[in-house]
C-alpha cells in the first residue's frame, strides 16, 4: 500500500512541478514586470535563445495559471491589434516562492559539479 501511495505522490508531484520551459516563461514574466503580455514575452524569450511560438507561450501560461503561479488580467485593445485586447500576466506570491526554491536548489547543485565550471567548457 505504501508503494502505491508513493507512486501516486510522484504522479501528483510531476503535475505540480515546473518544467524548464515553464520556469523560463516565469522568469521572463518576472523580468518584464507590468509589460508582460504575449508579444514581449516571446521577444524576450527569443533574446535569451529560446525560440517559441505565441500560442505555445499561452499554453504554458495557461498551465502556470492553473497551478496558481501566475495571474492574468485583460488589458487595453489597440487598433494595431485589430481591436483585440491584450492579456497581461504577473507572477503570484506562490509563483515567486516556487522560483526562489528552484533557484536555491539549482545553485546548490551547480556548485558541486566540476564539469559545469566555465573554465572546463
Amino acid at each position: 500500500l505504501w508503494r502505491h501511495s508513493y507512486f501516486f505522490y510522484i504522479l501528483k508531484e510531476m503535475k505540480r512541478s515546473l518544467n524548464s520551459s515553464e520556469l523560463l516563461v516565469l522568469l521572463v514574466v518576472l523580468r518584464l514586470g507590468d509589460d508582460a503580455y504575449g508579444v514581449p514575452i516571446v521577444e524576450e524569450l527569443k533574446r535569451n535563445r529560446f525560440k517559441t511560438g505565441v500560442a505555445t507561450v499561452y499554453v504554458m501560461l495557461g498551465r502556470l495559471e492553473a497551478k496558481g503561479l501566475v495571474a492574468s488580467s485583460v488589458g487595453e485593445a489597440t487598433p494595431q491589434r485589430g481591436g483585440r485586447a491584450k492579456r497581461y500576466f504577473r507572477v503570484t506570491g506562490k509563483g515567486l516562492r516556487e522560483v526562489r526554491e528552484l533557484q536555491t536548489t539549482l545553485v546548490e547543485l551547480w556548485q558541486g559539479v566540476p564539469q559545469l565550471l566555465r573554465e572546463s567548457v
Binding site: 503580455y37 504575449g38 508579444v39 516571446v42 511560438g53 505565441v54 500560442a55 505555445t56 499561452y58 499554453v59 495557461g62 485583460v74 485593445a77 489597440t78 487598433p79 494595431q80 491589434r81 485589430g82 481591436g83 483585440r84 485586447a85 491584450k86 492579456r87
Partner: protein, 209 residues
C-alpha cells in the same frame, strides 16, 4: 500610410479552428507582431502552429470528450453515412454497367447516356464523398459544439490516417475522394459554427469598434 494587414485567410483559419479562451488574444498578438515587421510566411507559420498547439492542448485537457468524438465520428461514418452513400454509388455503377452491356450485346443504340455517365461517375463519387464528410462533420460538431474546433481536427486526422493507411489506395479518384471527405467534415462542422457564432454574445466581447 496605412499599416500592413495580416493575411485574411490565415486570420479566418485561426478564428475558426483556434481553440481555447486565448484565441482572440493570440490573434491580437500575431497582428501586433506582424505590424512590427514580421513576414507573411511568419504569420502563416504562427497561425498553423497556433491551431495545432491549441487543438492538442484542448484534446489533452478533455481526453474523454475527445475519445467520445472519435467514437461518434467512426460510428456515424461507418454505420450510417458510408452504407447510405454506398447504395447510391452502387446504383450508379450498376446503371453504367447495364448501359455498357446493352451497347455490347444489343448493338449501338443511343450511346449518349453511356458517354455522359462514364465521364460523370468520378465526379458523382467525389460528390458523394463530400456529402459523407458534410454529414459526419455536421453530426460530430453538433454533438460537441463547445469543443468544436479540436474535435473537428481530430475527426479529420483519424479517418485520414485510417484511410491513408489502406494499402488498396492506388487511384487518383480515391485520393480526391479522401480530400472531399476531409473538406466535407470541415464544411459540415463550420456550418454549425457559423450559426452558433452569429448568436454568440461573447464573440465580440474583447473587440473594439
Amino acid at each position: 500610410m496605412k499599416a500592413p494587414q495580416p493575411p485574411k485567410s490565415a486570420t479566418w483559419l485561426l478564428k475558426h479552428f483556434g481553440c481555447g479562451a486565448d484565441v482572440d488574444v493570440v490573434m491580437g498578438d500575431l497582428a501586433e507582431h506582424y505590424q512590427q515587421g514580421q513576414t507573411q510566411a511568419w504569420y502563416w507559420k504562427e497561425t498553423l502552429a497556433a491551431i495545432i498547439v491549441t487543438a492538442f492542448n484542448e484534446v489533452r485537457g478533455n481526453k474523454w470528450l475527445s475519445f467520445r468524438a472519435v467514437l461518434v465520428g467512426l460510428i456515424v461514418y461507418s454505420y450510417v453515412v458510408l452504407p447510405l452513400t454506398s447504395v447510391v454509388a452502387i446504383g450508379i455503377l450498376d446503371t453504367h454497367r447495364e448501359l455498357e452491356w446493352r451497347e455490347l450485346h444489343v448493338g449501338p443504340g443511343n450511346s449518349v447516356p453511356l458517354i455522359v455517365l462514364s465521364y460523370a461517375i468520378p465526379g458523382i463519387l467525389v460528390l458523394l464523398a463530400l456529402v459523407m464528410g458534410v454529414v459526419t462533420g455536421w453530426i460530430v460538431a453538433r454533438m460537441h459544439a463547445r469543443r468544436r474546433a479540436p474535435i473537428l481536427l481530430l475527426a479529420i486526422a483519424i479517418p485520414a490516417g485510417f484511410i491513408i493507411g489502406n494499402p488498396s489506395a492506388d487511384s487518383f479518384v480515391f485520393w480526391i475522394g479522401v480530400a472531399a471527405i476531409i473538406v466535407g467534415i470541415l464544411l459540415g462542422g463550420l456550418f454549425i459554427a457559423g450559426r452558433r457564432q452569429a448568436h454568440s454574445p461573447t464573440e465580440h466581447f474583447h473587440q473594439v469598434g
